[in-house]
């Protein structure tokens, strides 16, 4: 192993301090630190440090995403093939799906990381690991047949306008992955909504129909799937949003490792359940009558588990997280039911609450500040 280390050090030499290629160092460091945790030691402050770093945290999220990604890839193939053949062998579906999904991931990572590296070099900071998650999330929440160039444009918009314009990782107000989806949604609505796009090849092959459950309900039709299918995810939809089962596996990974906020996840589902329950009492249309099944369909589960928990765009105080999560769930169902043009309410709900998260935190922190002020006032009174 020492040979490899020496080799890398040799390659890195021209990128060192004061050398010719110094400004490209962030790019080389990003690759090197993937192989090795660097030999940096503490200079100031505490002499010892926790084993955790942002790389480990982000990779944990990627691991949590994998079950939903693998299932989504299989389901993308399955939804298409089941409509034209009697039985669908597992591998056939997986390969069919992978044929579409892998290029999307490659484009997302290629374009996004390219921009990240560029900004790191220009601004002279190290490459942040956040895009490892964002870059995987973006294809996972897109319809399977989205043209790759649209995906690339969405990524460019999300990374530059959604993130770098605000100062880069840690500074963005909106969740970058959802920014990408919202961009695609409003820029290319025919590729992002309707009844032809949710199943692979549905727009080109007449034999395949591709409507989501929410789309059907909004059009006044029956859902057409049983509860188990909705839970397991063998239904049409964006690539990885369908399987509540595998999303919950990811949620378990996030909550057990402590990487994702359990407060947001729990309160998010709670908020959605409360709203769904209220609507089921009202019961004016099929979408309202759908009741608790709302929790199983659409992007709600995926949004709450993987997008609402993005710590940068979420509320940052613990109490704020409860409020933030609850309102996301609440508004998701509200938007779904009241605006059939946007059957996917969770995207808009999360973006909306992203904007309000700092306000929520402001009022939570204000409580602490007022406590301090009261103490001073009391002190002055007794003095």
């Amino acid at each position: 192993m020492k040979f490899l280390r020496d080799k890398i050090d040799q390659i890195k030499k021209p990128f060192g301090k004061g050398e010719k290629l110094e400004k490209f160092a962030p790019a080389v460091n990003a690759l090197d630190t993937f192989l090795y945790v660097p030999n940096h030691t503490t200079k100031h402050g505490a002499h010892i440090r926790d084993a955790v770093d942002l790389k480990r945290t982000m990779i944990t999220v990627v691991l949590a995403l994998l079950p939903a990604l693998i299932f989504g890839t299989w389901n993308a193939g399955y939804q298409s093939l089941i409509q034209i053949q009697e039985t669908v062998p597992f591998m056939d579906a997986l390969i069919h799906g992978a044929w579409k999904v892998i290029p999307m991931i490659a484009v997302s990572y290629g374009v996004g990381l390219g921009i990240e590296f560029y900004f790191a070099i220009v601004r002279g900071h190290e490459v942040n690991e956040g895009y490892l998650v964002t870059g995987l999330l973006i294809p996972m929440i897109m319809p399977i047949d989205l043209p790759l160039w649209m995906l690339a444009l969405s990524v460019i918009f999300a990374v530059i306008i959604g993130k770098e314009a605000f100062g880069g990782t840690g500074m963005n107000i909106l969740n970058p992955a959802l920014t990408a989806r919202a961009f695609a949604f409003f820029a290319y609505p025919t590729y992002m909504s309707g009844d032809k796009i949710w199943v692979s090849d549905a727009s080109t092959t007449d034999a395949i129909s591709g409507e989501t459950i929410l789309g059907k309900l909004a059009a006044g039709q029956e859902a057409g799937y049983d509860m188990w299918s909705m839970f397991a995810g063998t239904i049409p939809g964006s690539i990885s949003e369908t399987s509540v089962l595998w999303i919950l596996v990811g949620a378990a990974i996030l909550v057990i490792t402590g990487v994702g906020s359990w407060r947001i996840i729990v309160s998010g589902f709670l908020g959605a359940a409360v709203m769904a329950f209220l609507f089921s009492i009202w019961g004016a249309n099929p979408l309202m009558d759908f009741g608790m099944l709302h929790l199983l369909v659409g992007g709600l589960a995926f949004g709450i588990v993987f997008m609402a928990t993005d710590p940068v765009s979420a509320a940052q105080t613990n109490r704020g997280k409860w409020i933030y999560g609850f309102l996301i769930g609440f508004f998701s169902i509200l938007i779904r039911v009241f605006n059939p043009a946007y059957p996917e309410g969770v995207m808009l709900a999360i973006l909306l609450l992203n904007v309000f998260a700092p306000t929520i935190d402001h009022y939570v922190v204000e409580g602490n500040i007022n406590r301090r002020k009261k103490r001073v006032a009391k002190q002055l009174k007794t003095a």
């Binding site: 945790v37 030999n39 100031h44 945290t57 840690g170 001073v376």
Partner: protein
């Protein structure tokens, strides 16, 4: 009346190399040193020149901003070197020690028979004043102030730090005398906090309000105790004194001498036999650690692993240090070390490492940063180690933005850098929280005072 202090947030990090409760003497150092940088914000004005003979307790320099505050030599000998840095800033004053100390004689005094002003001027003249530190800002107390209370924490909860009960077990009379002296300096109370889990030797100290402290580190931090007992508001001053320094103050009145003798713990995984030693303030590290280290590639810390200062073998003990910790340097690469659950021997507060499944395990912690500095992404982790009623991330951001109003309203007066040491340790982004807080406090001193 005793008021218990219980905290839940924090971390008791278990490290290898705890000191055995045995006190030995180490041979006298050849060179003792005083570093003005140990007294934050003090600009030294020298009284003695290079080559001058000094007695133990003789004034070497005073503070330019508060001229009554004098700093004295811990031993008798000759000032053989005054090391200066950029712009002739004094870095170190080295004193070549005599074989035996001759002391400046102040005469025995009974604090109970003296007025508050007499006690104060005696402390100032004898060089004991720098032991008294002020909160907010964590600096040497201003000589003209009168604090609302004085706090002594006789419980150090930081990993591998010296146990006050061991260090002071033969000095209780001096400690009591020191408490009597301090009681003269405030209209308010003298608060003494002790480890709640043991039968403290300090239980019988009179003239104090005794508090039993329960909970993980940083429960021993005096700042945490202040916030639970009597939080600091804008404009208020409280003073804090470390227990061994209380005993030195006590000895001054009992014997008439400034006796810089202390008991320190030599601890850490790289020390072959961790135990306690009697030394004098400013002693050479070489004399303390020579022949006692288990390896070469080590970091020697004057203080504990969270808040201490890095020193070289040729360097000297810090003025306030009660512990010398020796841990391995972590200047090695680790292949794929960032993978979740990689490195079973590395401790992490997060559950992305195996350490949460092994709560009783003792760790050998090295100085590797375990990653690189990144933007602040993860939220909620700082709160887990912050027992004060403060939003740590929000305060740190206000500090980074130099937003004085925000810092004030978020509680900057209640914190000292050491209260953010665990945040240094635990935060995913490798943010230097203690440095940020120190700089923010300095800004407050300049802007608000």
């Amino acid at each position: 009346m005793s008021k218990d202090i219980r905290i839940k947030k924090g971390l008791d990090l278990k490290l290898v190399g705890e000191a055995e409760a045995k006190v030995d003497a180490v041979s006298r150092s050849q060179v003792y040193s005083i570093k003005p940088s140990d007294f934050h914000k003090v600009t030294p004005k020298l009284v003695l020149k290079e080559g001058a003979e000094v007695k133990a307790g003789e004034v070497i320099f005073y503070s330019k901003n508060d001229e009554a505050v004098k700093f004295v030599s811990p031993v008798s000998g000759k000032i053989n070197e005054i090391k200066r840095g950029e712009k002739r800033v004094i870095l170190e004053i080295n004193i070549l020690a005599d074989a035996q100390d001759t002391f400046v004689e102040h005469g025995k005094k009974n604090p109970k028979e003296l007025s508050a002003d007499e006690v104060k001027s005696h402390l100032l003249a004898s060089g004991c004043w720098p032991f008294i530190k002020q909160r907010p800002y964590d600096v040497v107390a201003t000589s003209t102030d009168s604090p609302k209370a004085i706090f002594i924490s006789a419980y150090s909860s930081a990993p591998l730090s010296a146990d006050v009960e061991v260090a002071l077990k033969d000095k209780l009379i001096s400690f009591q005398a020191g408490v009597d002296v301090l009681a003269k300096l405030t209209q308010g109370k003298v608060h003494l906090s002790v480890n709640g889990k043991t039968n403290s030797i300090f239980s019988f100290v009179s003239g104090v309000e005794l508090h039993k402290v329960f909970g993980p580190h940083p429960s021993g931090n005096v700042g945490v105790q202040i916030s639970k007992i009597d939080p600091i508001n804008a404009g208020e001053r409280v003073w804090v004194v470390a227990p061994q320094d209380v005993a030195i103050i006590g000895d001054l009145f009992l014997t008439g001498k400034f006796d810089a003798t202390k008991v320190i713990a030599l601890t850490g995984s790289e020390v072959s036999k961790p135990q306690y030693y009697t030394i004098r303030i400013g002693a050479q590290i070489k004399e303390i650690v020579s022949g006692k280290l288990a390896s070469d590639n080590v970091r020697i810390v004057s203080g504990d692993v969270f808040t201490g200062d890095k020193v070289s073998v040729g360097g000297n003990l810090g003025y306030y240090a009660n512990t010398v910790t020796v841990i391995p340097e972590g200047n090695q690469y680790r292949m794929f070390g960032w993978m979740p659950f990689a490195g079973a021997n590395k401790h992490s507060m997060q559950r992305t490492a195996l350490s949460w499944l092994m709560p009783g395990k003792k760790y050998v912690a090295d100085t590797n940063l375990n990653g690189e500095e990144r933007a602040l992404v993860v939220t909620g982790e700082m709160e887990k180690v912050m027992p004060l009623d403060i939003y740590p991330m929000q305060l740190l951001k206000a500090c980074l933005a130099n937003d004085i109003d925000k810092m004030e309203s978020l509680g900057i007066y209640e914190v000292a850098p050491e209260d953010f040491a665990l945040i240094d340790y635990t935060n995913t982004s490798k943010l230097e929280a203690q440095v940020i807080i120190r700089e923010a406090l300095d800004l407050m001193i300049n802007e608000v005072g």
